[in-house]
Symmetry: C2
Subunit: 340 residues, 2 copies
Amino acid sequence: MKRKITLKDIARELEVSISTVSKALKNSEEIGRDTKEKIQAFAKLYNYRPNNIALSLKNKRTKNIGVVIPDIVHYFFTTVFRGIEKYANQKGYNVIVCVSDESFDKEVINTELLANGSIDGFIMSLSAETQQKMDFHHLLEITEQGIPLVLFDRADDHVPCDKVILNDTEISYQAVNKFLANGRKHIALVTTESYFNVSAKRAEGYEAALSEAGIPIDPALKLILPYRDINENEIRQFFAATKIDAVLCVNEIFAVQCMAIVQKMGLKIPEDISFIGFTDGILSKFVQPTLTTIAQHGERMGEISAQMLIERIEIEMDVEKPYRTEIVEATIIERESTVN
Amino acid sequence: MKRKITLKDIARELEVSISTVSKALKNSEEIGRDTKEKIQAFAKLYNYRPNNIALSLKNKRTKNIGVVIPDIVHYFFTTVFRGIEKYANQKGYNVIVCVSDESFDKEVINTELLANGSIDGFIMSLSAETQQKMDFHHLLEITEQGIPLVLFDRADDHVPCDKVILNDTEISYQAVNKFLANGRKHIALVTTESYFNVSAKRAEGYEAALSEAGIPIDPALKLILPYRDINENEIRQFFAATKIDAVLCVNEIFAVQCMAIVQKMGLKIPEDISFIGFTDGILSKFVQPTLTTIAQHGERMGEISAQMLIERIEIEMDVEKPYRTEIVEATIIERESTVN
DNA sequence: ATGATTTACGAAAACGGTTTCGTGTTGATA
DNA sequence: TATCAACACGAAACCGTTTTCGTAAATCAT
């Protein structure tokens, strides 16, 4: 087993000082030709690489960024992650991932752990519980310590930091208008609890479009589902109880599950009932009929998040830079679940 | 902005030495009651936390593990990752993720970067290109440096290390036997290039079952698809050319795509043609008809991988411990694409 | 009162680098 | 020959910890 070689090893072996070795390997003008060549050759031979940890300690820069997300087995988050990882890697950063599992405590523990020097900055999307409790003390601590933070998608106005979010309200408004243009009158919304910021904004867009069309908001047309352990019967009852000819769902899974159920109830998609979901994931493309979805452009969101974060990391500390909120424009991808 | 406080800060403020502070915070018997209490109170007040980087340098332990996988927007890999992350986190380890994007070069660069002190061990699944080139020098370097390595799923016998793999051959054998038991005679295999180790093993099980049943292996019943950019026509031609009444697919996507195409060709599933895919992901559950799949138990694989890795990390270096290969037993999840 | 133990703390090395500054040697210049 | 700059290198500080060892003062036994 060949242990990693250090500057000290090279110095001892070549009978020079550690500083000489360090300088020689950086090709410093200070060191003579012969010595430099000798040291460089030796280093190459023994495949010397500087120790990252030592560098981090010295430079106060880890070249790591921390990503804290609620879930990893989740299409949208993985696409965002891919964007982050690609950009970060290209800029020489590594990515440490922690999964909060929608739990406030895990989110707190993970951030506090990483904040003790392990990373240069955070990219996060808030856990369900954090949004519900509206407790952001851990995030405020982070920013107060001067650690850059970017929130994406599930952000909150109470946290002063850079953000990357979707134009949720606007795109929902557009989606509902699309239903209206197709002559749909009984448009339902299938969503999650409203403490999810994004759900609230999507509901807002939904309601705005209806109001604008002079259609009253009917509570019977709104179904709130838990984000896990969905009860099929609840969905069945919802669709049985009221006449519905179009449905906007705040995610892909809700849409696909609803579609399967209404199909079993004998309805035709899109003739009798039309669907639009959020998250242009794998399901939307392969389910029957294929699902019209709102593409959130996760990879792009990740890229922008990483870019904003790294920019802030690498800026001089004394430069004042106001926080920005970048808005990514969603796109409606038309498929078979809506008529053109 | 409150910068992070260090031992030195506390020492200066309280007019004691750094060593005294360090010892007091570890509740050492060496330090007097009063001094200890004073220091501990001060540390609590200013929320002192030791710097992870400094600890890593001192202890030669980063408490980080590196995970290198070919793709992250991929159901199986994310479930494995979830297993890794859960177990690692619970053991106090963080996880650095690098995505090789099926590229040999990226895999090499990422591993070499992380190997310079950033992590205590690796968990990897080989990129397509690495398997094709059969070039494992970067992995050998890692193990020669004494850095623990666990390969999961896409492993290779040429790399001496711990491994966690699926009983691919056996479960494919069982799947084909299931088709045979249902009276299917023309059983196809839809797979990837054979340099994918797992595909080769799955083909082996497929062929073994057929041979045992006295059915000759017909090359026309084997379709090799690229792992991205699938051409639909190729699939259509394949199914048009030969009589096929059952199909084993080495992944979920292949299965779902084939199913959509044969349905368009007018075939009924499972009456006319039956399907079994690998990876019990989200698609299998929601596609119509639902897909019978082979569950790879990714989360469990991840957990085992993390456990094996951390065990080896924490073992005394001088203890000889032979490499193990842990085999995870797949399970066939029956759904509508096969008859019972 | 003297020597031996405790007690309670500090100095310093170590982890593996970078970087500033100092210094002995060389050759050129006045 | 005396002065001086350039050259080539080393010593040491520093990043933030932990830990070994040394030691002054206080306590104890004799």
